[in-house]
């Protein structure tokens, strides 16, 4: 499978990472090198294998469905690049 610059641009968009058009050919070629390395996985017959879902077999713990934390607005906002009136501030969102 080979990735062209159009696919590289789509992946960058999906990942929300701005890539300048002149950088796309180099990016596509890096993707192809890495994917070429990954292609080896195709050599194995894995039809009868269940995908691994948990590293160590264990049942996830349950706890009572109650509030255990909260009321920390100032601490939550303490590291925000832009916080105003108790909210995270972002540029105007116009769809």
């Amino acid at each position: 499978m080979s990735i062209d610059t159009e696919t590289a641009a789509r992946v960058a968009k999906l990942a929300r990472i701005k890539v300048e058009p002149e950088d796309l050919p180099a990016l596509a070629s890096e993707f192809n090198a890495i994917l070429g390395f990954i292609e080896q996985l195709g050599e194995l017959d894995v039809d009868a294998v269940e995908p691994m879902t948990s590293v160590t077999p264990m049942r996830l713990k349950r706890r009572a469905d109650v509030v255990t934390d909260g009321d920390q607005q100032a601490r939550v906002l303490a590291n925000a690049p832009d916080a105003r009136e108790g909210f995270f501030a972002v540029p105007k969102v116009v769809e």
Binding site: A15, R16, I17, I34, L35, E39, P81, P91, V93
Partner: protein, 494 residues
């Protein structure tokens, strides 16, 4: 006492209890070693005030009696751990200015045991790298040099700052994290001991996430005994990490008898790679002989899916990273890009992430995005998860056949020159060829310094253990350490 910073944890613990020194003295010695070692690029955020406060508190606790083993021990903390009120950037520009409002469970356990934090340690950005060259802070440098050369060598990665700091005696020990080899490879490159515990032993809560199903914290120390002491202090169940194991943590140090008679050590044939340097091959054979001479039985084993571990890792890890790193959006913490007139929220995300992430992180996030995208999810991500199941089964089979631990080289080479391998990402990935299987299978692994190469650089061997049996694994590592008698130290040039 002279050179307090050169002490081991065990040595300092005993000296503290005999009244031969105190934590303030130990801490002061480390702080002055750190001040003189900027050329190593190991400590990237220094916290001398916190250190001296904690040292004084530790001395009071020691005087009152019954203090834990780690009480008063000066350590460095990898920048990946969130530390309350202290910069925690994961080596990335995108977390510039981030000062967590909370403490990670692991660093919190160390703090509560009385350990003294000296500062934060350099690392590859988001722990993605094998040479510490992707860090926003610049390179960490290996205190070891080859022969008479003054070329700067990598301390390995991603826990490069931790390894350099321990090897150069800037601290008694350090925390590391290991997603594909990030504790064991730098330990091997610097002549130190690095333990990656079984997945689930150490809580991941408050550690900046890279690949959640692979990440595991562990100790980086001067000796196996120290790894046993510090490892036990870092482990334990944490309700805030759903994958944290609710099982007791044994007294690993008490298990260090050095008696490995009747233990069965597996030597996997698939780890004998084409093009492997003769010195690594010879070291591996010598290590096996040492274990045999100590009374263990050697057995040739096969782990048939080994060659697929790296390709599987380079699907699973980027996939999880692309998801974990989606949170860096310039809204809640860290860096936000300057915006142009008319830019909306999408432009803010895209510019912030383009400027805030380095090249390797961007590459992996995008590869992860690709393998998870519609149409490719089955071909790449699901297939890699199936191959991962096969790799895990390889290990289960040999353990079921009676193997207690597995001996392999830790790395395919000694430390290489900074700047040499950056150009080719896939070439760089091969550094993890012997360590990555252990993360995929969730097993414990430890790197032990076992010799020097022709140029006088340290080489390490890796032991892999059964899940949850770090005590037995460390005891075998202890026997290997005793037999190898590695005592070399880097000559101070910094």
């Amino acid at each position: 006492m002279s050179d307090l910073n050169a002490l081991t944890i065990a040595g300092a613990r005993d000296a503290l209890r005999k009244g031969e020194t105190n934590s303030v003295e130990l801490t002061t010695a480390c702080l002055s070693a750190i001040e003189g070692a900027d050329a190593l690029g190991a400590f990237v955020h220094k916290t001398p005030e916190i250190a001296l406060d904690r040292a004084a508190a530790a001395d009071a606790r020691l005087a009152a009696g019954d203090a834990p083993d780690m009480c008063g021990i000066p350590v460095g903390i990898k920048d990946l751990f969130c530390t309350e009120g202290v910069a925690s950037q994961a080596g990335s520009k995108i977390l510039e200015g981030f000062k967590p409002q909370y403490e990670s469970t692991v660093s919190g356990q160390l703090r509560d045991a009385g350990a003294v934090m000296l500062g934060k340690l350099n690392m590859d950005e988001f722990a993605m790298g094998s040479s510490n060259e992707t860090s926003v802070y610049g390179n960490a440098v290996n205190p070891w040099r080859a022969g008479n050369s003054d070329a700067a060598l990598t301390p390995g990665g991603s826990s490069g700052g931790s390894a350099a700091a321990v090897a150069a005696d800037l601290c008694l020990a350090a925390t590391g994290t290991d997603t594909g080899g990030s504790i064991r490879q730098p330990a091997a490159f610097t002549g130190t001991v690095g333990l990656k515990p079984t997945y689930g032993r150490c809580s991941r809560w408050g550690i900046v996430a890279f690949a959640s199903s692979l990440d595991q914290a562990g100790p980086m120390t001067k000796t196996v005994r120290d790894a046993a002491i510090m490892g036990a202090a870092m482990m334990g169940h944490d309700p805030r990490d759903s994958t944290s194991a609710d099982r007791p943590v044994p007294d690993f140090e008490a298990m260090l008898t050095g008696d490995i008679r009747r233990k069965v050590i597996g030597i996997p044939k698939e780890y004998r790679m084409e093009g492997m340097p003769q010195e690594i091959e010879a070291l591996w054979s010598r290590g096996a002989e040492m274990l045999r001479d100590a009374g263990a039985e050697l057995r040739d084993i096969s782990l048939p899916h080994t060659k697929y571990a790296l390709p599987a890792y380079y699907v699973v890890a980027p996939a999880e990273a692309s998801s974990n790193l989606a949170r860096y959006d310039g809204v809640r913490f860290g860096y936000r890009a300057d915006m142009a007139q008319g830019d909306g929220i999408t432009e803010m995300y895209e510019k912030t992430r383009a400027e805030g992430f380095g090249a390797e992180v961007k590459r992996r996030v995008m590869i992860g995005t690709y393998v998870l995208s519609a149409g490719f999810y089955d071909a790449y991500y699901n297939r890699a998860r199936k191959v991962r199941a096969l790799i895990k089964r390889d290990f289960e089979d040999v353990f079921a056949a009676g193997i207690d631990s597995i001996l392999t080289p830790a790395t395919p080479s000694a430390a290489f020159e900074l700047g040499k391998e950056v150009a080719d990402p896939v070439e760089m990935y091969l550094n993890d060829v012997f360590t990555v299987t252990v993360n995929l299978a969730g097993l414990p692994g430890v790197a032990v310094p076992a010799g020097l190469d022709k140029a006088g650089l340290p080489l390490g061997l890796q032991l892999i253990g059964r899940p949850w049996e770090e005590g037995d694994l460390l005891n075998t590592a202890y026997a290997l350490e005793q037999a190898a008698g590695f005592v070399a130290k880097p000559a101070k040039w910094w």
